[in-house]
Symmetry: C2
Subunit: 190 residues, 2 copies
Amino acid sequence: MRLLEERIEKDGRVKDGNILKVDSFLNHQMDCGLFMDMGKELYRLFGNEGVTKILTIEASGIGIACITALVFGVPALFAKKARTKNIDGDVYTSKVHSFTSGLTYDIIVSHRFLLPEDRILIVDDFLARGQALMGLIDLVRQAGATLVGCGIAIEKCFQEGGRMIREQGIRVESLAAIESMSENGVVFRR
Amino acid sequence: MRLLEERIEKDGRVKDGNILKVDSFLNHQMDCGLFMDMGKELYRLFGNEGVTKILTIEASGIGIACITALVFGVPALFAKKARTKNIDGDVYTSKVHSFTSGLTYDIIVSHRFLLPEDRILIVDDFLARGQALMGLIDLVRQAGATLVGCGIAIEKCFQEGGRMIREQGIRVESLAAIESMSENGVVFRR
C-alpha cells in the first residue's frame, strides 16, 4: 500500500535492534484517516470472504481493528492481556511471548464472542516474529471458528513470523512489507 | 444519548460490586457503528472547541477515541501503561490507581505528541472513581496543553469521579449517566 509506505519513509525512524518507530502515526499517536485508508485496502483484499468479526490484540492493534471493522460493518474484538478481574466466565486463553519486553503473558477472549460460525479476520499493527499472531490464531482454532486470514499494517519480512504463518496455509496480507532497514532507511518488498 | 442508553438496557449486565458488564459492545467486543454514533455526538458537544487531538488511555478507550478522532479529523493519542521498552526519549508520566485490579501503575505519553498549543479532548469508556481520567488530566497539564473537556461513554454518577473532576472546572460530558443500578436494571440520570 503505497500511502503507508510513503508515510513510513517520511515519519518512521529506524532504531538499534531492528526497531522501526512509527509512534507518530501508528501505535502511540494514531492517524485515524490513514487507518481508514488501511481498512479500505483490507476490505479490497478480504471483502468477499464473508468476514463476521475482526480480531486483534491490545493495545496498539485496537485502533486499526476498529476502523477496519467499521469499513467491514462487523464488530471488532480484542484479546486481552490477562491482568484484569473484570472478565468473567469462560474464556479461551493462549500464551504469547514478547521479545520486546522479554515477558510471556496470557491472552484471553470470552467464549461468548468467538463462535464456531464466525469467519475471522485477524488485524494487527506489526508482524515480526509472529508470536502475537500465533496466539490469536490459536484462540480462533480453539473456538472452532474459520480464520479467513491476517491483515497486517507492517511486516518485517527479514524476521520469521510471516513465513511461519504462511507455511500453515494461512493467508497473510501486509500493507507494507519491509525487506530490510538500516539507518539509511527502509527497503520495501514489491 | 438515547441510543447508548438503550444498548446498555438491552445488552449490559449488572454484576456484584457495582460492576456493569458491557463487554458485548463496548470494551471487549466493540460495536464500531455505535462508536461512530458516539463520536458524532461528541462532535456535536465539542465540535466548536477547536480540538486538535483526542487523548485516551489503553486499552478499552482506544476504539472509541480512534473513531471519535476520525469524526473530528484530528489524531488520537493513547497513554501507555508503562511496561514496554519501546517508548524512547522524554515522556510525561503520571500515576493511576486501579480499584478494579488493586494496582497502581504509571501512564506515559511522549513529549512529542502533547504540545502546549494542543487543545485536548479526553475520551474514555468509563468514569467511576475518576482515577484514570485524573492521570490523563495531569499529563495534559504537564504539557501545558489546553484541556477542552472530557467525553465519557458511561459515567457511574453514584461514584465520586465525575463530581471531583467537574469541581475543578473541567467540562465533563457523559453519553450515558447512570444514577443507580441493581439486579433489576439500570436507572439513568436525565
